[in-house]
Protein backbone atom coordinates (compact mmCIF):
# COMPACT_ATOMS: atom_id res chain seq x y z
CA UNK A 1 0.00 0.00 0.00
CA UNK A 2 1.30 3.47 -0.83
CA UNK A 3 1.32 6.04 1.92
CA UNK A 4 -0.15 9.09 0.23
CA UNK A 5 -2.21 11.07 2.70
CA UNK A 6 -1.66 12.31 6.19
CA UNK A 7 -5.20 13.17 7.31
CA UNK A 8 -8.62 12.08 6.14
CA UNK A 9 -12.11 12.64 7.49
CA UNK A 10 -15.05 10.29 7.26
CA UNK A 11 -18.51 11.82 7.76
CA UNK A 12 -21.12 9.25 8.65
CA UNK A 13 -24.83 9.92 8.65
CA UNK A 14 -27.95 7.81 8.98
CA UNK A 15 -29.67 6.93 5.69
CA UNK A 16 -33.08 7.11 7.35
CA UNK A 17 -34.15 10.03 9.49
CA UNK A 18 -32.01 10.22 12.61
CA UNK A 19 -34.03 9.85 15.84
CA UNK A 20 -31.21 11.35 17.89
CA UNK A 21 -31.18 14.54 15.83
CA UNK A 22 -34.99 14.66 15.77
CA UNK A 23 -35.16 14.40 19.57
CA UNK A 24 -32.45 17.01 20.07
CA UNK A 25 -34.24 19.39 17.68
CA UNK A 26 -37.65 19.00 19.27
CA UNK A 27 -36.31 19.37 22.83
CA UNK A 28 -34.28 22.45 21.88
CA UNK A 29 -37.24 24.04 20.11
CA UNK A 30 -39.67 23.28 22.93
CA UNK A 31 -37.59 23.97 26.02
CA UNK A 32 -34.69 26.29 25.16
CA UNK A 33 -34.82 29.95 24.27
CA UNK A 34 -32.05 29.67 21.67
CA UNK A 35 -33.88 26.70 20.18
CA UNK A 36 -36.80 28.83 19.04
CA UNK A 37 -34.77 30.09 16.07
CA UNK A 38 -33.64 26.60 15.17
CA UNK A 39 -35.30 25.14 12.06
CA UNK A 40 -33.19 22.05 11.39
CA UNK A 41 -30.59 19.77 12.89
CA UNK A 42 -28.50 16.93 11.53
CA UNK A 43 -26.08 14.66 13.38
CA UNK A 44 -22.96 13.43 11.62
CA UNK A 45 -20.38 11.15 13.20
CA UNK A 46 -16.89 12.28 12.28
CA UNK A 47 -13.85 10.01 12.15
CA UNK A 48 -10.48 11.58 11.65
CA UNK A 49 -7.72 9.29 10.46
CA UNK A 50 -4.11 10.42 10.67
CA UNK A 51 -0.97 8.67 9.52
CA UNK A 52 0.16 6.88 6.39
CA UNK A 53 -3.13 6.45 4.55
CA UNK A 54 -3.83 4.67 1.26
CA UNK A 55 -5.23 6.30 -1.89
CA UNK A 56 -8.79 7.63 -1.76
CA UNK A 57 -10.53 4.63 -3.33
CA UNK A 58 -8.71 2.16 -1.11
CA UNK A 59 -9.47 4.28 1.93
CA UNK A 60 -13.18 4.24 1.11
CA UNK A 61 -13.08 0.47 0.62
CA UNK A 62 -11.37 -0.11 3.97
CA UNK A 63 -13.86 2.06 5.85
CA UNK A 64 -16.71 0.25 4.11
CA UNK A 65 -15.31 -3.21 4.86
CA UNK A 66 -14.57 -2.66 8.55
CA UNK A 67 -17.23 -2.85 11.23
CA UNK A 68 -15.29 -0.32 13.30
CA UNK A 69 -16.54 2.78 11.52
CA UNK A 70 -20.05 2.46 10.17
CA UNK A 71 -22.80 0.15 9.02
CA UNK A 72 -23.23 0.61 5.26
CA UNK A 73 -26.70 -0.91 5.44
CA UNK A 74 -28.03 1.94 7.51
CA UNK A 75 -25.46 4.72 7.24
CA UNK A 76 -23.72 6.54 4.42
CA UNK A 77 -20.14 7.72 4.52
CA UNK A 78 -18.50 10.67 2.79
CA UNK A 79 -14.70 10.60 2.81
CA UNK A 80 -12.68 13.78 2.57
CA UNK A 81 -8.99 13.25 1.98
CA UNK A 82 -7.99 16.73 0.82
CA UNK A 83 -9.14 20.11 2.06
CA UNK A 84 -10.38 20.73 -1.46
CA UNK A 85 -12.66 17.66 -1.28
CA UNK A 86 -16.29 18.41 -0.57
CA UNK A 87 -17.57 17.96 2.97
CA UNK A 88 -21.23 17.10 3.59
CA UNK A 89 -21.95 20.65 4.76
CA UNK A 90 -25.02 22.28 3.26
CA UNK A 91 -24.98 26.02 2.64
CA UNK A 92 -26.33 27.93 5.62
CA UNK A 93 -25.63 25.23 8.19
CA UNK A 94 -23.69 26.07 11.33
CA UNK A 95 -21.53 23.06 12.17
CA UNK A 96 -20.40 22.27 15.69
CA UNK A 97 -18.09 19.43 16.70
CA UNK A 98 -18.41 17.72 20.09
CA UNK A 99 -16.03 15.09 21.41
CA UNK A 100 -14.96 13.61 24.73
CA UNK A 101 -11.95 15.34 26.19
CA UNK A 102 -9.16 12.79 26.31
CA UNK A 103 -11.49 10.07 25.05
CA UNK A 104 -11.58 10.76 21.32
CA UNK A 105 -9.16 7.99 20.25
CA UNK A 106 -10.64 4.72 19.00
CA UNK A 107 -8.22 1.96 19.97
CA UNK A 108 -10.33 -0.81 18.41
CA UNK A 109 -10.37 0.92 15.03
CA UNK A 110 -6.63 1.57 15.23
CA UNK A 111 -5.98 -2.10 15.99
CA UNK A 112 -8.20 -3.20 13.11
CA UNK A 113 -6.43 -0.85 10.72
CA UNK A 114 -3.01 -2.13 11.69
CA UNK A 115 -4.16 -5.72 11.35
CA UNK A 116 -5.59 -5.08 7.89
CA UNK A 117 -2.96 -2.76 6.42
CA UNK A 118 0.13 -3.08 8.61
CA UNK A 119 0.06 0.70 9.12
CA UNK A 120 -0.19 2.51 12.40
CA UNK A 121 -2.67 5.33 12.22
CA UNK A 122 -4.51 7.42 14.76
CA UNK A 123 -8.30 7.28 14.71
CA UNK A 124 -10.36 9.91 16.47
CA UNK A 125 -14.12 10.21 16.69
CA UNK A 126 -16.47 13.06 17.43
CA UNK A 127 -20.03 14.08 16.65
CA UNK A 128 -20.79 17.03 14.42
CA UNK A 129 -24.13 18.78 14.70
CA UNK A 130 -25.31 20.73 11.66
CA UNK A 131 -27.62 23.47 12.88
CA UNK A 132 -29.88 25.50 10.63
CA UNK A 133 -31.45 28.70 11.92
CA UNK A 134 -34.27 30.91 10.71
CA UNK A 135 -33.26 34.04 8.77
CA UNK A 136 -32.26 36.91 11.04
CA UNK A 137 -31.03 34.70 13.87
CA UNK A 138 -27.45 35.20 15.08
CA UNK A 139 -26.45 31.67 14.13
CA UNK A 140 -23.05 31.73 15.77
CA UNK A 141 -24.31 32.93 19.17
CA UNK A 142 -27.36 30.66 19.07
CA UNK A 143 -25.24 27.65 18.14
CA UNK A 144 -23.07 28.23 21.20
CA UNK A 145 -26.13 28.66 23.41
CA UNK A 146 -27.62 25.40 22.14
CA UNK A 147 -24.33 23.55 22.40
CA UNK A 148 -22.66 24.40 25.72
CA UNK A 149 -24.63 23.06 28.69
CA UNK A 150 -24.63 25.60 31.49
CA UNK A 151 -27.98 25.00 33.20
CA UNK A 152 -31.44 23.59 32.46
CA UNK A 153 -32.21 26.41 30.02
CA UNK A 154 -28.92 26.72 28.21
CA UNK A 155 -26.94 24.14 26.31
CA UNK A 156 -27.69 20.61 25.22
CA UNK A 157 -25.15 19.10 22.85
CA UNK A 158 -21.99 19.31 24.97
CA UNK A 159 -21.40 18.95 28.71
CA UNK A 160 -18.16 20.91 29.09
CA UNK A 161 -17.33 19.01 32.26
CA UNK A 162 -16.08 16.15 30.10
CA UNK A 163 -16.55 17.19 26.50
CA UNK A 164 -15.08 19.81 24.18
CA UNK A 165 -16.83 21.66 21.42
CA UNK A 166 -15.47 23.37 18.35
CA UNK A 167 -17.59 25.42 15.98
CA UNK A 168 -16.67 25.44 12.31
CA UNK A 169 -15.28 28.91 11.71
CA UNK A 170 -17.37 29.44 8.59
CA UNK A 171 -20.53 27.96 7.13
CA UNK A 172 -20.36 25.53 4.23
CA UNK A 173 -17.17 23.74 5.26
CA UNK A 174 -15.32 22.29 8.25
CA UNK A 175 -11.65 22.50 9.24
CA UNK A 176 -9.31 19.65 8.43
CA UNK A 177 -8.17 18.32 10.80
CA UNK A 178 -10.91 19.27 13.22
CA UNK A 179 -10.43 16.94 16.20
CA UNK A 180 -6.65 16.65 16.41
CA UNK A 181 -5.30 20.05 17.26
CA UNK A 182 -1.77 18.98 18.13
CA UNK A 183 0.69 18.07 15.38
CA UNK A 184 0.04 14.51 14.31
CA UNK A 185 2.90 12.09 14.62
CA UNK A 186 4.14 11.07 11.19
CA UNK A 187 4.10 7.49 10.14
CA UNK A 188 7.34 5.96 8.92
CA UNK A 189 6.31 6.31 5.27
CA UNK A 190 4.51 9.63 5.52
CA UNK A 191 5.04 12.02 2.64
CA UNK A 192 6.77 15.22 3.50
CA UNK A 193 4.73 18.39 3.60
CA UNK A 194 1.43 16.74 4.38
CA UNK A 195 1.51 16.96 8.15
CA UNK A 196 -1.49 18.42 9.86
CA UNK A 197 -1.08 21.90 11.32
Amino acid sequence: MNAQKQVAQAFIEMRASDPEASSALSVAQANMEAGRGLVGMRRVRVFELAGPLPPHAELIELLHRSNQFYNPSKERCVVRAETSDASPCVAGEQWVLVFERGGERRAGAERWWRHETGSRIEVREGVAWALRFAPGVDASASAEDITVTRDRRHGLLCNPNFQEWRPAPETGTVPMPWIATKPISRGPRARKGKAAP
Binding site: P19, N31, E100, G103, R152, N159, F162, Q163
Partner: protein, 272 residues
Protein backbone atom coordinates in the same frame (compact mmCIF):
# COMPACT_ATOMS: atom_id res chain seq x y z
CA UNK B 1 -51.27 7.80 56.02
CA UNK B 2 -47.75 7.16 54.75
CA UNK B 3 -45.90 9.76 52.71
CA UNK B 4 -46.40 9.58 48.96
CA UNK B 5 -43.46 9.19 46.63
CA UNK B 6 -43.62 9.72 42.85
CA UNK B 7 -41.42 7.43 40.78
CA UNK B 8 -40.94 9.66 37.77
CA UNK B 9 -40.76 7.70 34.54
CA UNK B 10 -39.42 9.25 31.35
CA UNK B 11 -39.67 7.24 28.14
CA UNK B 12 -36.91 4.63 28.13
CA UNK B 13 -36.72 4.27 31.91
CA UNK B 14 -37.02 0.62 32.94
CA UNK B 15 -36.42 0.36 36.70
CA UNK B 16 -39.67 1.93 37.82
CA UNK B 17 -41.31 -1.29 39.10
CA UNK B 18 -38.48 -2.35 41.44
CA UNK B 19 -38.15 1.28 42.59
CA UNK B 20 -41.81 1.30 43.63
CA UNK B 21 -41.28 -2.04 45.38
CA UNK B 22 -38.26 -0.70 47.28
CA UNK B 23 -40.15 2.34 48.53
CA UNK B 24 -43.15 0.25 49.57
CA UNK B 25 -40.88 -2.25 51.33
CA UNK B 26 -39.54 0.71 53.33
CA UNK B 27 -43.09 1.54 54.35
CA UNK B 28 -43.79 4.38 51.95
CA UNK B 29 -46.62 4.83 49.48
CA UNK B 30 -45.26 4.95 45.94
CA UNK B 31 -46.57 5.07 42.41
CA UNK B 32 -45.22 5.52 38.90
CA UNK B 33 -45.65 9.04 37.53
CA UNK B 34 -45.34 8.90 33.74
CA UNK B 35 -44.00 11.74 31.61
CA UNK B 36 -47.35 12.15 29.86
CA UNK B 37 -49.05 13.58 32.96
CA UNK B 38 -49.23 17.33 33.63
CA UNK B 39 -46.09 18.45 35.42
CA UNK B 40 -48.06 20.37 38.05
CA UNK B 41 -49.49 17.09 39.38
CA UNK B 42 -46.05 16.33 40.76
CA UNK B 43 -46.69 18.91 43.47
CA UNK B 44 -49.05 16.48 45.20
CA UNK B 45 -46.18 14.20 46.28
CA UNK B 46 -43.86 14.37 49.28
CA UNK B 47 -40.76 12.93 47.65
CA UNK B 48 -39.50 11.81 44.24
CA UNK B 49 -37.46 9.01 42.77
CA UNK B 50 -35.96 9.11 39.28
CA UNK B 51 -35.27 5.46 38.38
CA UNK B 52 -32.63 3.89 36.21
CA UNK B 53 -32.85 2.98 32.56
CA UNK B 54 -32.26 4.87 29.33
CA UNK B 55 -34.40 7.98 29.32
CA UNK B 56 -34.96 9.07 25.73
CA UNK B 57 -32.72 6.16 24.69
CA UNK B 58 -29.68 8.12 25.98
CA UNK B 59 -29.93 10.26 22.84
CA UNK B 60 -27.40 13.12 22.70
CA UNK B 61 -26.01 12.10 26.12
CA UNK B 62 -27.30 10.07 29.06
CA UNK B 63 -29.87 12.16 30.92
CA UNK B 64 -29.41 15.26 28.73
CA UNK B 65 -32.84 15.32 27.07
CA UNK B 66 -34.84 14.43 30.19
CA UNK B 67 -33.02 17.20 32.07
CA UNK B 68 -34.80 19.74 29.81
CA UNK B 69 -38.25 18.24 30.42
CA UNK B 70 -40.89 20.47 32.07
CA UNK B 71 -41.24 17.81 34.80
CA UNK B 72 -37.70 18.67 35.87
CA UNK B 73 -38.65 22.34 36.25
CA UNK B 74 -41.18 21.25 38.87
CA UNK B 75 -38.59 18.97 40.48
CA UNK B 76 -36.22 21.95 40.73
CA UNK B 77 -38.91 23.95 42.52
CA UNK B 78 -39.73 21.20 45.01
CA UNK B 79 -36.02 20.52 45.57
CA UNK B 80 -35.54 24.19 46.46
CA UNK B 81 -38.45 23.82 48.90
CA UNK B 82 -36.63 20.93 50.61
CA UNK B 83 -38.55 17.92 49.35
CA UNK B 84 -36.35 14.84 48.90
CA UNK B 85 -35.38 13.61 45.43
CA UNK B 86 -33.25 10.59 44.66
CA UNK B 87 -31.97 9.81 41.16
CA UNK B 88 -30.62 6.30 40.65
CA UNK B 89 -28.24 5.62 37.74
CA UNK B 90 -30.01 7.22 34.77
CA UNK B 91 -31.98 9.27 37.29
CA UNK B 92 -28.65 10.47 38.69
CA UNK B 93 -27.55 11.42 35.19
CA UNK B 94 -30.73 13.49 34.80
CA UNK B 95 -30.16 15.31 38.11
CA UNK B 96 -26.53 16.09 37.21
CA UNK B 97 -27.44 17.27 33.69
CA UNK B 98 -30.18 19.46 35.19
CA UNK B 99 -27.82 21.07 37.70
CA UNK B 100 -29.92 19.85 40.68
CA UNK B 101 -26.76 18.13 41.92
CA UNK B 102 -24.52 19.45 43.36
CA UNK B 103 -27.27 21.99 43.44
CA UNK B 104 -26.72 25.63 42.50
CA UNK B 105 -28.58 25.24 39.21
CA UNK B 106 -25.43 25.34 37.12
CA UNK B 107 -24.19 22.14 35.53
CA UNK B 108 -20.83 21.73 37.25
CA UNK B 109 -20.50 17.94 37.06
CA UNK B 110 -20.78 15.23 34.46
CA UNK B 111 -21.38 11.53 34.55
CA UNK B 112 -18.95 10.72 31.79
CA UNK B 113 -18.20 7.52 29.90
CA UNK B 114 -16.59 4.87 32.11
CA UNK B 115 -12.80 4.73 32.04
CA UNK B 116 -11.69 1.13 32.51
CA UNK B 117 -8.44 -0.54 31.56
CA UNK B 118 -8.78 -2.73 28.45
CA UNK B 119 -12.55 -2.27 28.44
CA UNK B 120 -15.10 0.01 26.89
CA UNK B 121 -18.75 0.69 27.34
CA UNK B 122 -21.38 -0.77 29.63
CA UNK B 123 -20.18 -2.45 32.80
CA UNK B 124 -22.15 -4.35 35.45
CA UNK B 125 -20.77 -5.81 38.68
CA UNK B 126 -21.09 -5.78 42.46
CA UNK B 127 -19.19 -2.97 44.12
CA UNK B 128 -18.63 -1.86 47.69
CA UNK B 129 -19.65 1.62 48.77
CA UNK B 130 -18.56 3.30 51.98
CA UNK B 131 -20.88 5.65 53.83
CA UNK B 132 -19.26 9.07 54.29
CA UNK B 133 -20.15 11.77 56.78
CA UNK B 134 -22.90 13.77 55.08
CA UNK B 135 -26.19 15.48 55.76
CA UNK B 136 -27.95 13.55 52.97
CA UNK B 137 -31.42 12.60 54.16
CA UNK B 138 -30.89 9.20 52.55
CA UNK B 139 -27.73 8.23 54.46
CA UNK B 140 -27.34 10.40 57.55
CA UNK B 141 -28.86 7.67 59.75
CA UNK B 142 -25.99 5.37 58.74
CA UNK B 143 -22.64 5.21 60.49
CA UNK B 144 -19.77 6.70 58.44
CA UNK B 145 -17.41 3.92 57.44
CA UNK B 146 -20.21 1.38 57.01
CA UNK B 147 -19.78 -0.65 53.81
CA UNK B 148 -22.73 -1.47 51.57
CA UNK B 149 -22.38 -3.95 48.70
CA UNK B 150 -24.47 -2.67 45.79
CA UNK B 151 -24.71 -3.51 42.09
CA UNK B 152 -23.75 -1.07 39.36
CA UNK B 153 -24.78 -1.30 35.70
CA UNK B 154 -23.88 1.63 33.51
CA UNK B 155 -21.75 2.93 30.67
CA UNK B 156 -21.57 6.54 31.83
CA UNK B 157 -21.00 6.70 35.57
CA UNK B 158 -17.74 8.57 36.02
CA UNK B 159 -18.30 11.63 38.20
CA UNK B 160 -16.02 14.36 36.92
CA UNK B 161 -15.86 18.11 36.51
CA UNK B 162 -14.11 20.63 34.29
CA UNK B 163 -13.27 22.63 37.38
CA UNK B 164 -10.09 21.31 38.93
CA UNK B 165 -10.58 20.33 42.56
CA UNK B 166 -14.38 20.62 42.38
CA UNK B 167 -15.07 16.95 43.12
CA UNK B 168 -12.55 16.97 45.98
CA UNK B 169 -14.25 20.05 47.42
CA UNK B 170 -17.59 18.20 47.33
CA UNK B 171 -15.98 15.39 49.32
CA UNK B 172 -14.68 17.88 51.88
CA UNK B 173 -18.02 19.65 52.19
CA UNK B 174 -19.92 16.45 52.92
CA UNK B 175 -21.75 16.30 49.58
CA UNK B 176 -20.45 12.84 48.76
CA UNK B 177 -22.45 10.38 50.90
CA UNK B 178 -21.08 7.24 49.18
CA UNK B 179 -17.66 6.43 47.76
CA UNK B 180 -16.46 3.24 46.12
CA UNK B 181 -14.22 1.16 48.37
CA UNK B 182 -12.79 -2.31 48.83
CA UNK B 183 -14.65 -5.04 50.74
CA UNK B 184 -12.71 -3.89 53.80
CA UNK B 185 -13.80 -0.28 53.39
CA UNK B 186 -10.48 1.04 52.10
CA UNK B 187 -10.40 3.71 49.39
CA UNK B 188 -11.00 2.31 45.90
CA UNK B 189 -7.83 3.36 44.16
CA UNK B 190 -8.22 1.51 40.91
CA UNK B 191 -10.43 -0.67 38.74
CA UNK B 192 -12.48 -2.70 39.51
CA UNK B 193 -13.00 -1.38 43.07
CA UNK B 194 -13.55 1.97 41.42
CA UNK B 195 -15.57 0.57 38.51
CA UNK B 196 -15.70 3.61 36.22
CA UNK B 197 -12.77 5.88 37.04
CA UNK B 198 -14.87 8.35 39.03
CA UNK B 199 -12.84 11.15 40.57
CA UNK B 200 -12.12 10.46 44.26
CA UNK B 201 -14.08 7.22 43.90
CA UNK B 202 -17.35 9.12 44.12
CA UNK B 203 -20.43 6.90 43.86
CA UNK B 204 -23.06 9.47 44.86
CA UNK B 205 -23.36 13.25 45.22
CA UNK B 206 -25.98 15.27 47.06
CA UNK B 207 -26.86 18.95 47.12
CA UNK B 208 -25.70 21.17 49.97
CA UNK B 209 -29.06 20.91 51.75
CA UNK B 210 -28.89 17.11 51.59
CA UNK B 211 -32.36 16.56 50.12
CA UNK B 212 -31.31 15.70 46.54
CA UNK B 213 -29.14 12.65 45.88
CA UNK B 214 -27.64 11.37 42.62
CA UNK B 215 -26.44 7.80 43.12
CA UNK B 216 -24.96 5.52 40.45
CA UNK B 217 -25.28 2.09 42.17
CA UNK B 218 -28.74 0.48 42.32
CA UNK B 219 -29.95 0.13 45.94
CA UNK B 220 -33.45 -0.83 44.71
CA UNK B 221 -32.03 -4.11 43.38
CA UNK B 222 -30.81 -5.31 46.81
CA UNK B 223 -33.80 -5.49 49.08
CA UNK B 224 -33.44 -9.17 50.08
CA UNK B 225 -30.39 -10.95 51.46
CA UNK B 226 -30.87 -13.53 48.73
CA UNK B 227 -30.39 -10.87 46.08
CA UNK B 228 -26.80 -10.27 47.15
CA UNK B 229 -24.36 -11.67 44.63
CA UNK B 230 -22.35 -14.78 45.44
CA UNK B 231 -19.14 -12.86 44.81
CA UNK B 232 -19.88 -10.41 47.63
CA UNK B 233 -17.72 -10.77 50.74
CA UNK B 234 -17.75 -8.98 54.07
CA UNK B 235 -20.53 -9.10 56.68
CA UNK B 236 -23.37 -8.88 54.14
CA UNK B 237 -21.90 -11.71 52.10
CA UNK B 238 -21.59 -13.85 55.24
CA UNK B 239 -25.20 -13.12 56.22
CA UNK B 240 -26.33 -14.19 52.80
CA UNK B 241 -24.30 -17.41 52.90
CA UNK B 242 -25.62 -18.29 56.36
CA UNK B 243 -29.19 -17.64 55.29
CA UNK B 244 -28.80 -19.80 52.19
CA UNK B 245 -27.23 -22.63 54.15
CA UNK B 246 -29.30 -22.66 57.31
CA UNK B 247 -32.71 -21.07 56.85
CA UNK B 248 -34.12 -20.44 53.40
CA UNK B 249 -36.75 -17.99 54.69
CA UNK B 250 -33.91 -15.75 55.87
CA UNK B 251 -33.04 -14.93 52.27
CA UNK B 252 -35.99 -12.53 52.33
CA UNK B 253 -34.48 -10.56 55.22
CA UNK B 254 -33.61 -6.90 54.69
CA UNK B 255 -30.52 -6.27 52.59
CA UNK B 256 -28.17 -3.28 52.23
CA UNK B 257 -30.07 -1.44 49.47
CA UNK B 258 -33.03 -0.98 51.76
CA UNK B 259 -30.93 1.26 54.02
CA UNK B 260 -31.12 4.12 51.52
CA UNK B 261 -34.93 4.02 51.41
CA UNK B 262 -35.10 3.64 55.19
CA UNK B 263 -33.31 7.00 55.41
CA UNK B 264 -35.99 8.59 53.23
CA UNK B 265 -38.74 7.08 55.34
CA UNK B 266 -37.21 8.39 58.56
CA UNK B 267 -36.90 11.85 57.07
CA UNK B 268 -40.48 11.91 55.81
CA UNK B 269 -41.84 10.72 59.16
CA UNK B 270 -40.56 13.97 60.61
CA UNK B 271 -41.01 16.29 57.64
CA UNK B 272 -44.51 15.39 56.45
Amino acid sequence: MSARVAVVQFPGVNCEAESVRALMRAGLSAEVFRWTRPAAELLAYDAYLLPGGWSYQDRVRAGALAAKDPLVDVLADVAAAGRPIIGICNGAQVLVEAGLVPGDGRVSLALARNRMPQRNGYYARWVYCRIEASNSVFTRHLEPGMVLPLPIAHGEGRFTSAKRGHVASLVRSGQVPLRYCTALGEDAIEFPSNPNGAEAGVAAVCNAAGNVLAIMPHPERVLDLGAIGRSVGGPWGRLRSQAMAQNPTEVFSDAPGLQIFEGLKRHLEVAV
